[in-house]
């Protein structure tokens, strides 16, 4: 009986939003809303200026987030979706559920941004992270020729996995399958998601793990541990740009626009680097936190346009499967 009362208490605590302020519901991925993600600070900062109630709802990851929106369709409770990346933009637009926005900003992205529906809020480069005291290969060919062991994520179940697939495709085009065949004996294993892969790497199961160039910043800033480094690949690094958009069916269009404007402002952007461990889309006036200056900066940025990414994905995936299933 007591348990039930506690349970009921917990439930009502979350469902009871008892004041009459307008409510803005933002769907995002789970790690954004976790206590260590940007969510709590973003909520506080936005509620301080909007006279509204910001309701962040976490869904597993970016891909699951889009599925949730498609599942809910036009009756979705979401006003804004935050956390898709460029690889999902075409599929997202095809649903017709998203509305254009007029938000613009002076983006610090290494590429030109010109999408009238999706607004970027952070970005990063995929990279292999290794222990700083061990040498790392300089490109995929060198990795394939050597015996460095890596752990990667599955492109069918994880965003970084899909990023790596497109990275190899963007860098090598027709030769991608050959590169994968060469990498087969370097790949210790393929995991479902980022957490598994990174956990295995920290346990010493491999020399390198697919992550981001910004990962060493976490260890450096949060743990004062300079032992991790990202390997700079000379064929360039594939980018991930994370975006948000307003839903066409929102009942709070002004508030949604206000949130997107807020998202590219200093108040939001300065939270990103040390909570989401990505580069902010707009460099805040205070600059990047100390430690980010130690990160490698790729000489070349690789990124398929949204439509192109959607078009090559299928083929790249079957090349990947073919090369690694031998």
């Amino acid at each position: 009986m007591k348990h039930l009362m506690i349970a009921a208490g917990l439930l009502s605590a979350t469902s009871a939003i008892a004041d009459d302020k307008p409510q803005l519901t933002v769907y995002t991925y789970d790690s954004f809303v976790s206590d260590w993600g940007p969510g709590p600070q973003v909520e506080e900062a936005f509620e301080a200026v909007c006279n509204c109630d910001l309701n962040l709802v976490g869904v597993e990851d970016g891909a699951a987030l889009l599925s949730r929106i498609r599942l809910e369709g036009e009756s979705s409770d979401a006003d804004v979706v935050l956390g898709l990346d460029t690889n999902l933009i075409t599929a997202a637009k095809d649903t017709g559920l998203f509305a254009p926005s007029s938000v613009t900003a002076d983006y610090a992205l290494p590429i030109e941004w010109a999408d009238d529906v999706f607004t970027p809020y952070d970005w990063g480069y995929f990279a292999f992270v290794h222990n700083a005291d061990t040498p790392a290969p300089a490109n995929f060919r060198e990795l394939a020729d050597g015996d460095t062991k890596v752990i990667i994520q599955d492109p069918r179940s994880s965003t970084p996995g899909l990023g790596l697939l497109l990275w190899v495709k963007a860098a090598y085009g027709e030769e991608a399958q050959e590169i994968w065949a060469g990498l087969a004996d370097n790949i210790v294993t393929v995991t479902k998601g980022w957490s598994e892969a990174y956990g295995l790497f920290l346990e010493g199961e491999a020399d390198m793990v697919l992550s981001y160039t910004t990962s060493p910043a976490y260890h450096l800033i949060a743990e004062e541990d300079a032992s991790k480094a990202a390997a700079a690949f000379d064929e360039g690094h594939y980018m991930q740009v994370e975006v948000a958009a307003k839903l066409a069916g929102t009942d709070q269009p002004e508030l949604a626009d206000q949130f997107l404007e807020f998202m590219v402002s200093d108040a939001f952007q300065q939270i990103i680097p040390t909570t989401n461990w990505m580069y902010p889309a707009v460099t805040p006036s205070s600059g990047l936190p100390e430690g980010f200056d130690t990160l490698i900066v790729p000489e070349k940025s690789l990124l398929f346009g949204a439509d192109e990414a959607a078009a090559v994905r299928e083929q790249a995936l079957s090349e990947w499967l073919g090369a690694l299933s031998q």
């Binding site: 348990h3 039930l4 506690i6 349970a7 917990l10 439930l11 605590a13 979350t14 469902s15 789970d30 790690s31 809303v33 976790s34 206590d35 260590w36 993600g37 962040l56 709802v57 976490g58 869904v59 597993e60 891909a63 699951a64 889009l66 599925s67 599942l71 809910e72 409770d77 599929a91 062991k149 599955d154 069918r156 179940s157 899909l162 087969a184 790949i187 210790v188 294993t189 393929v190 995991t191 479902k192 980022w194 957490s195 598994e196 990174y198 956990g199 295995l200 920290l202 346990e203 010493g204 199961e205 491999a206 990962s215 976490y218 260890h219 949060a222 990947w320 499967l321 690694l324 299933s325």
Partner: protein, 515 residues
């Protein structure tokens, strides 16, 4: 007809089974009906099916096969710490997948303890990734479960039978043939079917230990269909395939596991007189304990430091998990007891079948289906905890039934006629005879159900809300935020909590007091 009179009614059990079937098939239908395109199988799906079947069959055979000598050794030997060891052996089963994988690799991985020792002698590290790695991991998860189920069946053999066999001068082998083999024939098909079904829906374990896309399972294809392709038709079709495979396995198991119980005993203390070959028993106990406890030890060691670094939110999540586990256990017993009773009173294989389907149902499909069904009526996020408790209960149902059905059958066989001749009502029989006679099994099932619910991520991730998290979800969140040490601490906390819950509940039901 009087001839088919039963001391207890099968109707509530049939009702419960119908509810479970409605939940599993209803959610599947909800997903299928919501599909925009009709799904179909591609060549990759056939490869996934082949791999899924191969690893599930191998995992079931090895888990159950190895469990027999371990359970026999544990049934024959009495030593200090035996009960604690048996309780600890249940631990792998209740760990969140990711924690168990990390624990296993700490021992068997490229940089694991065994490879370290090999390296000391100049030998290369062991290669764990591949089909054998998948099977190893599944044996790690399921050997304890199989051991517990078989051990329980062993302990349910009335002491009188062993006494008789001993009196007849049976040696170990003869006693095995006479008493134990028939028991194994009865219990093993069910154990095999349950483990087969568990491994059928394996995804993260199979992929990670399998070492790459060769180790693609149907569940991964379902995940991909849901999240990356939003192909609900395909997801529903693949899930239906999993359910069909499980149903076939379950029906085969039911066919093969027919057989009579051992008749009545008088609750004498269980003693064995076939004391031969203590070295062999010791070998099996030590080997199994080492295999299962080393990865757990690594979870404990790596979690110890993190235990003191955990933010308060982890403890709140732990409380939530305890509440969910309590609710889930209550639901589990309300479903499992009537269902076990129904199965015991006759050939209600269909009831058992609906029970086992809970294992094969993809959590993604159940979760998404529930989401689709609930959404028009209520905010699914507000129902995250009740839904999680319900789904956890359904997932634990097959285990509870494996535990409860043989006992219920024996109680009905042994005491049914007497109760009928006394004109005892069906409700009275249930309360005054069935429940007390099955007390140990009920406690065991409740303990297992509670521990499973504690460790299972279940569907909460689909419904989650930043303010509400169960402990497994919180552990995943910590890992996703680079907080590996705190996550390891959370895993240790989870392990401790689950084991305590299991221990407390199971302890309530000691049976066959030691001689």
């Amino acid at each position: 007809m009087a001839g088919r009179a039963q001391p207890v009614s099968p109707r509530p059990g049939i009702g419960a089974a119908a509810l479970v079937a409605a939940l599993i098939l209803g959610t599947l239908a909800a997903v299928a009906l919501r599909a925009e395109t009709a799904g179909g199988f591609g060549p990759a799906d056939w490869a996934a099916l082949r791999f899924t079947l191969t690893q599930a069959i191998l995992s079931a055979v090895f888990s159950a096969g190895l469990a027999v000598p371990v359970a026999r050794a544990l049934a024959r030997r009495r030593f200090r710490g035996r009960r604690a060891l048996i309780a600890l052996l249940g631990a792998p089963f209740i760990l969140p997948v990711i924690v168990a994988i990390l624990g296993l690799l700490q021992v068997f991985g490229r940089a694991g303890w065994i490879s370290d020792i090999l390296g000391y002698f100049g030998l290369p590290p062991i290669r764990i990734y591949g089909l054998h790695g998948v099977v190893l991991a599944h044996v790690f998860f399921n050997l304890p479960l199989a051991t517990r189920l078989i051990l329980q069946a062993w302990q349910e053999i009335p002491a009188e039978r062993f006494r008789l066999a001993a009196q007849l001068g049976c040696n170990g082998i003869a006693m095995f043939r006479l008493i134990e083999l028939p028991m194994l024939k009865r219990i093993l098909p069910g154990v095999l079917a349950v483990i087969f079904a568990i491994c059928l829906t394996s995804f993260a374990v199979a992929l990670t230990l399998g070492g790459g896309p060769r180790a693609t399972t149907i569940e991964l294809a379902i995940y991909q269909a849901f999240t990356y392709d939003f192909d609900l038709g395909r997801a529903a079709l693949l899930s239906a395939l999993q359910l069909t495979l499980t149903a076939v396995a379950a029906l085969a198991a039911l066919r093969f596991s027919r057989g009579d119980g051992f008749g009545a005993g008088l609750d004498r203390a269980l003693r064995r007189w076939d004391g031969g070959a203590p070295a062999i028993d010791a070998f099996w106990i030590i080997a199994a304990a080492t295999f299962l406890l080393l990865p757990l030890a690594s979870v404990v060691i790596s979690g110890f430091a993190g235990l003191f670094e955990m933010p308060a939110i982890v403890f709140r999540a732990a409380l939530t998990s305890v509440i969910v586990a309590a609710a889930s256990t209550a639901i589990l017993l309300m479903l499992a007891l009537p269902m076990a009773t129904a199965v015991a009173t006759g050939r209600y294989g269909i009831v058992e079948l609906s029970g086992i389907l809970g294992l094969a149902a993809s959590p993604l499909v159940i979760g998404t289906g529930l989401f689709i069904l609930i959404r028009p009526l209520a905010n699914p996020t507000a129902l995250a905890l009740p839904v999680t408790a319900l789904v956890n209960a359904v997932m634990a149902l097959p285990f509870a039934l494996r535990i409860l059905v043989p006992a219920a059958r024996d109680v009905v066989t042994r005491n049914g006629r007497l109760a009928l001749s006394l004109d005892m009502g069906r409700k009275t029989f249930f309360i005054r005879v069935l429940l007390p006679r099955m007390h140990p099994q009920i406690c065991f099932a409740a303990g297992l159900g509670a521990a499973l619910s504690m460790g299972d991520l279940g569907v909460i991730a689909l419904f989650a809300d930043p303010q509400i998290a169960t402990l497994p979800l919180q552990i995943y969140r910590l890992m996703g935020a680079y907080q590996m040490q705190a996550a390891a601490g959370g895993a240790l906390l989870l392990l401790l909590l689950s084991m305590s819950v299991f221990w407390l509940l199971d302890r309530g039901g000691r049976w066959h007091a030691e001689a």
